[in-house]
């Protein structure tokens, strides 16, 4: 049988050995915690506490600002110190609730939970919404919206995205090794929402141990299959994952539901499981702190809102001066001005690099080698799109399928002339999206 995969893609150095064998370790924050009101796609959350209020761990401090939005919970006990704009990983200033940690970790009483069998579909989705669960793979799309497609009976596959194709990231891997039962249980909960759906655990084949563990756990689950996908970046990209796992292809203007699929990342599925089984809101996530500048690369169970500084300290600090610090993976993460930003629901990793490969090279002229179009998972022509972007040629950019780019970074990675292709195309896409809104 042909390997499950997609056309295009790259094989960068994966750096996962740095942290893959380090068990998850809980980190207790010492300093203030910062909760940006926008940790998801959609309307910002609305604060429901005021400066000076005492809050408890697990207490809701911000309400969803609309249907496509998610509430936010305090992850420590303490006092609301300020509600003010704070810098987040993207460099933007976002209205945030700042909580001074009192170090007591007093927790609220979570409401009684009904057994899964007694919950209706609406109740399950309600629990997920109330818990503030969003896509934790990076996009931050509110999960309850994803779980409420127009025609739920047409959903045929629920895919747990266990690819973790970004180099250096090992947070999903640790979750699968250490708490696979939560992942499988979470998938079973989602399957209850869709009567005609089968579950797929889609894992890249560079994680044979995970595949084995998950296969063993699902041996008696006829509705769940484990699929080993070829290890290749960006295998975890939603469209490429759906294609590899089911053979169905969607373009940028379609939703996974249009192909009868729902896709959720490992940590998201676990968050759903905790919301439904324990009634607990989303308060923690796994963050890989790694890179060759870090003394002791690790996977931490982080209380959302913890400052990145503290995570670096927990990982033994820097062994040499970092030149570039990235929130997320090296392919799609955000480079940080500084460490003084909070972790959010979508922070998967903190990557500290001792060299900046991007700055090492001077971009040269395009020699039309075609490597960019060879590796492009969106099957477009990045070199041409970049030229159209440079010239501000909207018409040609759209005609050459510029909007089908998923900004995965493969073209910039592979380009021998070191041209910033992804960057140029990304800027143009932003302009086009803004024009659409007008």
């Amino acid at each position: 049988m042909a390997k499950l995969t997609f056309t295009g893609g790259i094989h960068p150095y994966d750096g996962k050995d740095l942290s893959k064998d380090k068990p998850m370790k809980a980190v207790l924050p010492k300093g203030d915690l910062v909760y940006p009101m926008s940790q998801h796609i959609g309307a910002p959350a609305v604060p429901i506490v005021q400066k000076g209020d005492r809050v408890l761990t697990g207490q809701k401090i911000a309400e969803a600002g609309g249907f496509v939005s998610a509430p936010i919970y305090a992850t420590v006990s303490g006092t609301v110190k300020a509600i003010e704009p704070r810098r987040i990983v993207t460099g933007d200033s976002v209205m945030s609730i700042v909580v001074e940690n009192d170090g007591l970790y007093e927790e609220v009483e979570y409401g009684p939970v009904k057994p899964l069998e007694e919950l209706t579909k609406e109740e399950i989705i309600g629990l997920v919404r109330e818990a503030g669960v969003v896509g934790m793979g990076g996009a931050g799309f509110p999960t309850h919206v994803k779980l409420s497609p127009k025609e739920p009976e047409k959903i045929e596959y629920v895919i747990a995205n266990c690819a973790e194709c970004e180099p250096y990231l090992t947070s999903d891997y640790r979750r699968m090794v250490e708490e696979p039962e939560k992942l499988v249980d979470g998938l079973k909960i989602i399957l209850r929402l869709f009567d005609n759906a089968k579950g797929i655990l889609a894992v890249e084949d560079n994680k044979p141990d995970c595949i084995q563990i998950l296969k063993k756990l699902t041996a008696n689950e006829p509705d769940i299959t484990v699929k080993a996908l070829q290890t290749k970046y960006p295998q975890g990209s939603e469209r490429q994952l759906i294609y590899a796992a089911t053979g169905r292809a969607i373009n940028s203007s379609m939703l996974p539901a249009d192909a009868g699929c729902i896709v959720d990342n490992v940590d998201t599925v676990v968050a759903i499981q905790q919301a439904v089984r324990e009634g607990k809101p989303l308060m923690h996530r796994i963050v890989t702190v790694t890179g060759d500048a870090i003394n002791d690369p690790r996977n931490f169970i982080v209380r959302i809102g913890t400052n990145y500084h503290e995570l670096v300290e927990e990982a033994g600090g820097f062994k040499s001066d970092p030149v570039k610090i990235v929130s997320g993976g090296p392919m799609m993460g955000f480079a940080l001005f500084g460490l003084d930003v909070p972790t959010t629901k979508t922070s998967s990793a903190l990557l500290c690099m001792t060299k900046d490969e991007v700055a090492e090279y001077e971009p040269g002229p395009c020699i039309k080698c075609g490597k960019c179009s060879e590796v492009c998972p969106g099957r477009v022509l990045p070199n041409k799109l970049a030229v159209f972007a440079e010239h501000g040629d909207d018409e040609q950019f759209l005609k050459y399928n510029g909007m089908e780019c998923c900004e995965c970074g493969c073209c910039s990675f592979i380009c021998p002339a070191k041209r910033p292709l992804t960057q140029m195309i990304k800027s143009m896409r932003k302009i086009q999206l803004a024009k659409r809104k007008k």
Binding site: T7, I250, N251, G338, V358
Partner: protein
């Protein structure tokens, strides 16, 4: 604000491939053909190669200095052009031919159109055709110390018999680098293994050409005739090293097949029905001119719009 870190948009890592690395690989891949040319034709051929390469590299350097542009000779593309041009010269051509050809290739065909990546015609071939038209007698005189008389391809066209084995090994007259099919194919294998080129263009080019001469060569499927046609002239050098030139070939996959088919047909027409025995250079140059059109016709379908299965 002292300790702000460097930021840039994703991705934050780069592959090790560089333009100069690719050009260097092409130079290395041309070494077998170059070495065989020198062995076959003697010291003058080596001198001619060195002078031509020096001419292309110096032209680029001087032009960029005069125009106050960034000097780009370290990307090795001028060296590739010089080497390719030299391999396309008759072994006994005077050294000034190499100098003029080198200047024309870089100055007129490449730099005046904007330098690397902007030329619409393969510089080495552009220069060769310029020399062929301007200095026809020198460029078509393949007599040298080692060989006299017609090239195997010309002999073939005149209806004489040729030794195919000699042609495959390269012990015949011709331009410096085109005679040895074996040396060229070794170089091509290096490029294919290093993932610099693939077989799409050379493969379609050669297959189309074989089909064409089988249909219209008047000899049917005559293996001796076909192998002589394949091993003779600039077909191998052209198919593997000139038609695959990144800048002047279509970037789309389907476009590359079309390009190969076009080259095969044109080479067949020139060789069978043209006045001369050779036609590879003109075929490729004509193909180069069609590239923008071919690319426009063959824009691939995007993922999710029918292009996912390729």
């Amino acid at each position: 604000m002292s300790d702000l870190m460097k930021v840039s948009s994703n991705p934050h890592i780069r592959s090790k491939a560089t333009t100069s690395g690719i050009m260097g690989a092409v130079c290395v891949a041309l070494l077998p053909a170059t070495a065989f040319g020198v062995y076959n034709f003697g010291l003058h051929a080596l001198l001619l190669i060195l002078v031509t390469v020096a001419s292309t590299v110096l032209t680029e350097f001087v032009y960029e200095k005069l125009m106050k542009k960034r000097v780009t000779v370290t990307d090795l593309s001028a060296m590739v052009t010089g080497l390719l041009l030299a391999l396309n010269l008759p072994p006994a051509a005077p050294l000034w031919i190499g100098v003029i050809g080198g200047v024309f290739a870089i100055l007129v065909v490449k730099m005046l159109f904007g330098g690397l990546g902007q030329n619409f015609m393969n510089p080495a071939l552009g220069a060769r055709c310029f020399l062929l038209i301007s200095f026809t007698s020198i460029m078509t005189n393949f007599d040298c110390d080692a060989y006299t008389g017609a090239t195997p391809l010309a002999a073939l066209k005149a209806g004489e018999s040729v030794n195919v084995m000699d042609m495959i090994i390269g012990r015949t007259s011709g331009t410096i680098g085109e005679t040895s099919m074996i040396a060229i194919v070794i170089g091509a294998c290096i490029l294919i293994l290093l993932d610099v080129i693939d077989l799409r263009i050379p493969g379609t080019y050669i297959v189309t050409f074989v089909i064409f001469i089988t249909l219209f060569g008047g000899r049917g499927f005559d293996t001796a005739f076909i192998s002589a046609q394949l091993a003779g002239g600039g077909l191998m050098l052209g198919a593997f090293f000139m038609a695959t030139d990144y800048v002047t070939r279509p970037i789309t996959k389907n476009g590359q097949y079309l390009f190969g088919i076009f080259l095969g047909i044109m080479t067949g027409i020139f060789r069978l029905f043209g006045p001369g025995a050779e036609g590879v250079s003109y075929a490729i140059i004509l193909g180069n001119l069609l590239v923008p059109l071919i690319e426009k016709m063959t824009v691939p379908k995007a993922f999710g719009k029918g292009g996912e299965r390729v």
